[in-house]
């Protein structure tokens, strides 16, 4: 039996709301298949599965909010029979679904977020919460009194999960407050995604600033060669094939990280775990405010063209809220690029459990001294914030120097 559990899609996630299943019982899935869409506080994510198997039973209903680690579905392994599955289930019948969740290791973030990681189910006998109406068939608008609607927003209560006791079955303040007091995780939902995004960013960044002893370095990097090289390269390409400086910078970071693996990985349980690949979390600001930093996978082995395509796709999907779960959980380091509209220098805050964040300010024309002469040149200020538990400023400085050197020979990237 394979238990499909809600994965942690980032250090700041401790629960998720199932939007829909993209599989049904009987479907065969392979490693990497998208099986569900889950709404985290930041975004709706396509969640992948990491086993081959056949979907046997879907335990979570669309609309339900469950904690990270909760078993959402059961799948049959290759060769497993119905009888074996039923036997397995009998053995586990006494264990409420919630127990899976609490038994599962919650991500470290769960200890710092304000939301209680209460189980979604009281017991197997509890009545199933009403399922969300599919977008194709909108139901009649739920009757909610104005005061109840306002109160629900204040308490973060999901009105869809309530039964009304007022006139004509309308939801009243009392209905909302009863639920609000019970404070069950199932009843809370990101009513206002912006508020939730702020909350989750706040939780992750608070944890970062409290736990991680940051050190900060910055260096100015001349980009005359890279700019000229890129311009020349782009003139050979169609508009869709053109590469932006942002992709060049990412490629240079990946390149420099090869020699400074101590910046690429995770700090967990009191020790550093280097990562095998360079999955750069690219900070993407969302149009409504807030930001998300999904992974651009394997930046070290991708070509510049591949990186550019990947970056464009990632930005588009982040803003459309259609990221994949692996993209949220995989980043090994973060790059934040303020772009031309941004400031000159960013002092990054590390996204735990990563150990470094690299920042780029805007690329500006500045006076630059080279070979005894002053000339105007595009320059970017690159910064590094890194975890002092893992590395020291000396290594950080070497990394920035390597980064600068890489960008002076863009054709070799």
């Amino acid at each position: 039996m394979i238990e499909f559990k809600l994965p942690s899609l980032g250090a700041d996630m401790d629960q998720g709301k199932l939007v829909e299943w993209t599989v049904k019982p009987g479907d065969h899935v392979t490693k990497g298949s998208v099986v569900a869409v889950v709404d985290t506080s930041k975004s709706a994510i396509d969640v992948e599965i990491w086993h081959d198997g056949t979907v046997w039973e879907l335990l979570t209903q669309p609309g339900e909010t469950v904690p990270v680690g909760a078993v959402m579905a059961l799948l049959l392994e290759a060769g497993e029979t119905q009888e074996q599955a039923l036997a397995w289930k009998r053995d586990h019948a006494a264990v409420p679904v919630a127990a899976y969740a609490t038994a599962a290791v919650l991500p470290p973030a769960a200890t710092v977020t304000s939301a209680p990681s209460t189980p979604a189910h009281d017991s197997p006998a509890a009545p199933a919460p009403p399922t969300l109406v599919s977008p194709a068939a909108p139901a009649a608008r739920t009757r909610v009194s104005p005061a109840a609607r306002k109160r629900a927003a204040e308490l973060g209560v999901d009105l869809a999960a309530l039964a009304g006791s007022g006139p004509e079955g309308a939801i009243t303040i009392e209905d909302v407050e009863k639920t609000g007091k019970a404070g069950s995780a199932a009843a809370t939902t990101p009513l206002n995604r912006m508020t939730e995004i702020r909350k989750t960013i706040g939780a992750a960044m608070t944890r970062s600033k409290r736990e991680i002893p940051h050190y900060y370095l910055a260096t100015d990097i001349p980009l005359a060669r890279a700019t000229e090289w890129l311009a020349a390269r782009n003139t050979q390409c169609s508009v869709t094939e053109r590469v932006l400086m942002a992709a060049v910078l990412l490629k240079a970071v990946a390149h420099a990280l090869k020699r400074h693996a101590a910046l690429n990985g995770f700090y967990r349980d009191g020790r550093f775990e280097p990562a095998n690949a360079v999955h750069i979390g690219v900070a993407i600001s969302l149009r409504q405010g807030g930001l998300i930093a999904p992974a651009l996978h394997d930046c070290d082995s991708k070509s510049l063209d591949e990186l550019m395509r990947g970056l464009a796709d990632l930005v588009r999907r982040a803003r459309a809220f259609t990221l994949r779960s692996s993209e949220l959980s995989d980043p090994t380091i973060t790059v934040t690029n303020l772009g031309d509209g941004g400031a000159d220098l960013v002092h990054g805050v590390i996204y735990p459990p990563q150990v470094a964040i690299i920042g780029f300010g805007g690329v500006r024309e500045r006076s630059w001294v080279e070979e005894g002469a002053v000339r105007a040149m595009p320059v970017v200020t690159a910064s590094l914030a890194a975890d002092h538990r893992v590395t020291d400023g000396h290594l950080g400085a070497l990394f920035l120097a390597d980064l600068s050197r890489s960008l002076q020979a863009p054709d070799k990237l």
Binding site: S145, P146, A147, S165, G166, P167, A170, T172, I173, E174
Partner: protein
């Protein structure tokens, strides 16, 4: 005069108020149909002729248009007239004087002329006087800028509201529900500080605001008592002043209870109840926990037969049913 201790009636309280006013100010006089020798259609002015004489207690011809107009003229001339109109139905004959002249002259004269006139009239149904003597047009008068409209519903207000009405430099219309004249009770000291600006909570409650005025107040208080026995804690707000409405008091009560039932003996369509409803929605929408309910008179001319008249009017059981409904019970 006819009081035993503090025990009195609404009618006697009104009479006392008239006596006080006329003793205090020689400019005050009363005129209307049968107010003198007959003592008033509802006996409010009984005995006043003996004390104040024909100069100050004046019987008029049966022409509302003429004697309300004469009242306006007297007010312009420096007097402080009280004009009694037998019922609100008959006041429609004087509507031109009240709405086109009394309510407008201060504005049309650029503030040069004030009309310190008090017009009293009986209103309401319940005595089998049929359609032409039983209607409630308070809402019509409350529509008109330039007028103040009062609805004393208690003995204290009957006793206390006339003096501030007379002191007001502009026309004031006072509605006396015909069923209230025989209301018995005791005066509290409250009447001495009666104002003509504010609504008053007659019963504190937490779950639903019953908003009413005039003759419906007592039916509403009965309903609140019965609701309490059912475990529903109703607040009763007596509007007292229908123009200008005490919106702040209405909103404060609804903010507390989150539910409102408006009880108004006028017809529902285009009513004062509709205005109150609108103000609640405008100013307390996000405090509402249920749709607002109205208990008004059925949309028929008031019937003559007792059972039909009773059925047409707001009654205690209807108020109870409406309050339960907004609580989802």
């Amino acid at each position: 005069m006819n009081t035993l201790g503090n025990k009195t009636t609404y009618r006697e309280a009104l009479r006392e108020a008239h006596c006080d006013a006329m003793r205090a100010d020689p400019r005050v006089f009363l005129m209307g149909e049968d107010v003198g020798k007959y003592g008033g259609s509802y006996a409010v002015s009984k005995g006043l002729l003996d004390e104040f004489g024909v100069e100050r207690i004046r019987d008029t011809p049966l022409s509302e248009l003429a004697f309300v107009g004469a009242g306006i003229g007297a007010a312009l001339g420096g007097m402080r007239p009280i004009v009694e109109v037998m019922t609100v139905n008959f006041s429609l004959l004087a509507l031109d004087q009240i709405v086109n002249t009394a309510a407008t002259l201060r504005h049309m004269s650029g503030g040069q002329f004030a009309i310190p006139l008090v017009i009293r009239m009986a209103t309401g149904a319940g005595r089998q006087l049929a359609a032409q003597h039983s209607h409630s047009f308070e809402g019509w008068y409350a529509h008109v800028p330039g007028l103040k409209v009062l609805a004393p519903a208690t003995i204290d207000d009957a006793r206390g509201m006339l003096a501030p009405a007379l002191a007001d430099p502009d026309p004031v219309v006072i509605f006396e529900h015909a069923l209230l004249y025989n209301l018995e009770g005791e005066l509290s000291g409250e009447w001495k500080s009666a104002d003509i600006r504010s609504a008053r909570v007659r019963r504190e409650g937490t779950q639903v605001s019953l908003i009413t005025y005039g003759g419906s107040l007592w039916k509403t208080l009965d309903a609140a008592r019965e609701l309490a026995a059912l475990g529903i804690d109703a607040e009763v707000l007596d509007l007292r002043v229908l123009r200008p409405l005490d919106t702040a008091a209405i909103v404060a009560s609804v903010r507390k209870t989150h539910r409102a039932v408006i009880i108004d003996e006028g017809w529902k369509t285009g009513s004062l109840a509709a205005e109150i409803c609108a103000r609640i929605v405008e100013e307390a929408f996000y405090d509402l926990d249920a749709p607002i309910a109205r208990v008004c008179t059925e949309e028929v001319p008031i019937p003559y037969p007792k059972h039909l008249e009773d059925a047409a009017l707001p009654q205690t059981p209807k108020i109870i049913a409406a309050a339960k409904a907004v609580l989802g019970k």
